[in-house]
Symmetry: C2
Subunit: 305 residues, 2 copies
């Protein structure tokens, strides 16, 4: 931030001081991307032109006041893509090779030979075709999996996804998938996309991976599906309530991997996030077009293609 | 085995009946590849021409009686390559993403955000350049890692390994590796290759992966290195004594993943092993050259290249 402090008055604040700091500010950098403080302080945004958020998903700031304003919204698209892709490949392999069971047997000092699954040739359906979904698709494909995507518009011949199916046809493509990866932006169209009907359409041997947003899922339906054996496992990095409440059955259900919203947070991510903001700050000062401008009606940065 | 039973008298036996069954037999298929029964029954091999083993490593049958005989030895080269490669990529990602810690925190119902490591750009040294090592190199490279190999002869420009370093120079190449993967055949030259000196040459942040043979490692030296922090972790699928004795400190050392010699044993491996034998049986009956003929002086099937 040193370079920015040389060019602008920078006010650092927590949620409590946000309204006071926002008054008179031209730009706002929301570093705690899950903070719900912005709507409550919005009345004080008397000359704000630009809001930048330290995340890929912008759902926490998609409140009417911002959507209807002239304030330009930019996100941190790109920072997390490859780290999240590695995480997804990791949980796919953890399921296929039974690592959780190996660790359990190790704690019990038990030598119990088992057979494992191959991932080559298995089918992954990546729901969400933005840059994170694309990086996931590329890496799973490189590891020998068959990949297709689910996005806004159906298309074929995508270099990473191969086929992209329209999200309206999601249910048609769930039954053949061995791994279903949720990485769509959270919008009014995607909220609750993974509900009882979706889980019922999956194979009993399928695993569900959520690295998008918890609210893409109807959590009660996921819990019921896991209990009933409608799917074989889930790796969940995001939840509709975070931190995940201690009474959630997801903590203890078998074949569920819970991680604390960390899949994209590689060593160095904080610097990378500040660099994205600093790059846009330089462009903003120079009067140039900002990068990663969010379409506030869609709720994400539209892909170029 | 049905097809073979139509063409030959097939005797099935366990270790206790091996000598009796071996008398008068032309071919021996050792299915329990870790069995030490063959040397003890060798006196009964009165007309044996061919011994096939259901494994890639042939060290259990490398006793002088076989080495000095005219008996042709073939192995199951190829069956395990890609499954083991997936396993190695899986443990690399498990270390980088801290899955063991995530599972531990999950058991404790604790939400504790942590940062994770990237694997792209990290360096893997694959010690052993046979088909399993090659498959590992190919997959780690596809996942974005920088890979080099250690083999009998130094060479450059290998499509999978890039550079292959001579095993005599192993110590020179250990210090830069983030992941060291042991997959060399067990021979008199490789026994104890990973000793105190080798572990001392590794980075304190390095992880050691053994999917070759336990005896490639001086186990006491590995335990000491892990205790002293000379390396950051180990994923061990093979051990000098199997099953790993319950008193071994490897079961409980932090940052050690123990698995029960299963990395290559994907669903379907038993059929695949019988198919390899059946293919060679057909060639043998037709008087054709067998596949996967082991060089009994080297102790493995020499690569074509």
């Amino acid at each position: 931030m040193r370079a920015i402090e040389a060019e602008a008055v920078v006010r650092y604040t927590d949620a409590g001081g946000l309204a006071e700091a926002l008054s008179g500010a031209d730009a706002l950098f929301v570093y705690d991307f899950l903070s719900m403080a912005v709507p409550g302080a919005w009345h004080a945004a008397d000359r704000l032109h630009w809001l930048h958020i330290a995340s890929a998903g912008v759902d926490p700031v998609m409140f009417p006041g911002l959507r209807e304003s002239e304030v330009v919204l930019t996100n941190s698209r790109g920072v997390f893509d490859d780290a999240i892709a590695e995480y997804v490949l990791g949980v796919v392999l953890a399921f296929a090779k039974g690592f959780a069971r190996s660790l359990e047997l190790q704690r019990e000092v038990r030598w119990q030979h088992r057979e494992s699954e191959r991932i080559a040739g298995t089918e992954a359906l990546v729901v969400g075709t933005g840059p994170i979904g694309r990086s996931i698709a590329r890496l799973l494909r490189a590891a020998g999996m068959r990949v297709s995507g689910v996005g806004r518009r159906a298309r074929t011949g995508d270099p990473d996804f191969g086929d992209v199916h329209a999200s309206s046809e999601l249910a048609l493509h769930l039954p053949s998938a061995d791994y279903v990866v949720a990485v769509a932006p959270l919008t009014e169209h995607t909220k609750g996309l993974f509900d009882a009907k979706a889980f019922a359409a999956m194979k009993p041997s399928a695993r569900f991976v959520n690295v998008g947003r918890g609210e893409l899922v109807v959590t009660a339906d996921l819990v019921a599906a896991l209990r009933e054996g409608a799917l074989a496992g889930a790796a969940l990095d995001v939840f509709d309530i975070e931190p995940l409440p201690s009474e959630s059955p997801l903590w203890t259900l078998p074949n569920v991997l819970v991680s604390p919203h960390m899949s994209g947070d590689f060593l160095g991510w904080r610097n990378a996030l500040v660099e994205v903001f600093a790059g846009n700050f330089t462009r903003w000062r120079a009067g140039e077009a900002l990068h990663n401008v969010v379409d506030k009606q869609l709720g994400y940065v539209p892909s170029v293609s």
